[in-house]
Amino acid sequence: MGVISLSPYDLAVAASLLLAVAALSYLLRLGNSGQIVVAGVRMTSQLLLLGIVLKSLFAHTNFLWVTLMALVMLAAAAREVTSRQKRRFKGVWGFGIGAVSMFISSFTVTLIALAVIIQNRPWYLPQYAIPLLGMLLGNTMNGIALGLERLTANAWQQKPVIEARLILGQSWNQAIGDVRKECIRSGMIPIVNSMAAAGLVSLPGMMTGQILAGSPPFEAVKYQILIIFLIAAGTGFGTMSAVYSASRRLFDERQRLRLDRLKGQ
C-alpha cells in the first residue's frame, strides 16, 4: 500500500474541526478561543516551514547544515523549558540549565542511536538524525520542564524546612535531597506512564504516522520500541542532570538557600 497524498482540502477539513472547538469556546466564554486559533496557525506554519527546510536538508547531506538545524531545535526547546517556569532562575541560568541538560541527554542518546544502532553512512544522514533528535528533544523537554518547575516551586514553599535542616548542620545536598528526589521522579512520571500504556491504550504517534504512510506494522512497531527506549533514557538523564544542577544553583558557596536567584511570580 502506498502513501495516500493529502490535499490542502483534506487538511482544511481537519482544521475546520479545530475552528469549531474555538467557536464553541468563544460561545462558552472559556477565554481561550484566541489562543486555540493562534496555536493552530503557529503549528501549521511551523510544520510547513519545517517541511520546506527538511526537503532541502535531505537533498544535500551536509554536516554543517544538520548541526545548525540541531542547534536551532535545541535553542527552541530550551526557550520552551524556560517559558514554562513560573519561578525560573534569573539571568543566563534560566535558559542555560535546560539547554545544557538537553544537550547532554538528547544529543548523546541521538548520537548513540545513529552511530551504534542505525549505522547509516554518513552517520548524520538528516532523514534519520533530525527526526530522532526532534523526538528526543520534545520529550526530554517535557521531563526537564516538569522537574524544574516542581523544584523551584518546592524550594520556594519549603524554604523554612530546608533552612531548618541547614541550621542543624546538614549540607545543601542533604537539606534539599528529599525535595530533589521527588522532583526527578515527577519529571519522569509521564514517560514511565506512557511506556506502561503503550500499545494497550494508545497507539504511539510515530508508529501511527508510519503505518498511515504505508509501512508494514511490524517495522513500525520495532522503530517505535527503539524510539521509546531512547526517549525514556534521554528524559531520565536530562531530568536528573537538570534538577541536580538547578538544586546546586539554589545554594551559594556558603550553602545558603538563595531564592533571590529565582524570579518572583
Binding site: 523554612p160 524546612v161 533552612e163 531548618a164 535542616r165 541547614l166 541550621i167 542543624l168 548542620g169 546538614q170 549540607s171 528529599d178 551559594d252 556558603r254 550553602q255 545558603r256 538557600l257 538563595r258
Partner: protein, 204 residues
Amino acid sequence: MKERNVIQLDINNLVYNGIGPFNFSIDQNECLGLSGPSGSGKSLMLRALADLDPHDGRVSFGGVEATRIRPEEWRRRVGLLPAESHWWGDTVKDHFRLPDNSLLQQVGFDESVLNWSVSRLSSGEKQRLAIVRLLANKPDVLLLDEPTANLDKTNIRKVEELFDRYKREHRASIFWVSHDPDQIHRVASRCYFLDHGQLLPGDR
C-alpha cells in the same frame, strides 16, 4: 572568684539587609539579650550570624573568621533556634543524629517521645523538642529567637534553666532575642536594644 572573659563570637561591621553596621561581641559563658520592636531586624540579625543570608562585615568564632570554617560546621557551632520550628520527617527521631536522653528529660520528655509522630505534637512540644534537637549538636553559641514564645509558665522556667545549665556546662555563649523585658532581665547579663537600625545599650 572573677572569671576571665574570653570573647567567643566577635561581630565587626556586620551589615545585612541594608541595616548596620553593628559591632559587638559575646563572651564564653555569657548570655547577651536583644530586644526591640517587631520588624527592627532582630531575627534577620540572627539569620546573618548563622550565615543563612548574605551579609557584609566579619563574624568570627574563637578568633577564626566564619568564611574560613565550612558552612555545615559553622552552623553546628553557632546554632540558631528560629521562632518557629520546622519538621521534615514523620517521627521525632528522624530529626536527630544522636538523641540525648538527659536533655529530653530536662524539658519533660522520656525517650518514648522519639517514636511519636511529628503531626501529633503541640506547638509547645515542638518548641521544646526543637531546643533539644539543637542542643544535641553541642553548639558553642546559641542564637535564640523568642525561644519561649509558645510555652506556658512552668515550661518557660524549665527552658530558661536548661539554657542556663547548658551555658555553664559548655561555657557556651547565648544571644537571646525576646520581647519580654522581664525575661531578658532574668536570663541575660548584658543587653542591647535594636531600633531603627541602631544597636543601643539596654538597661536591665
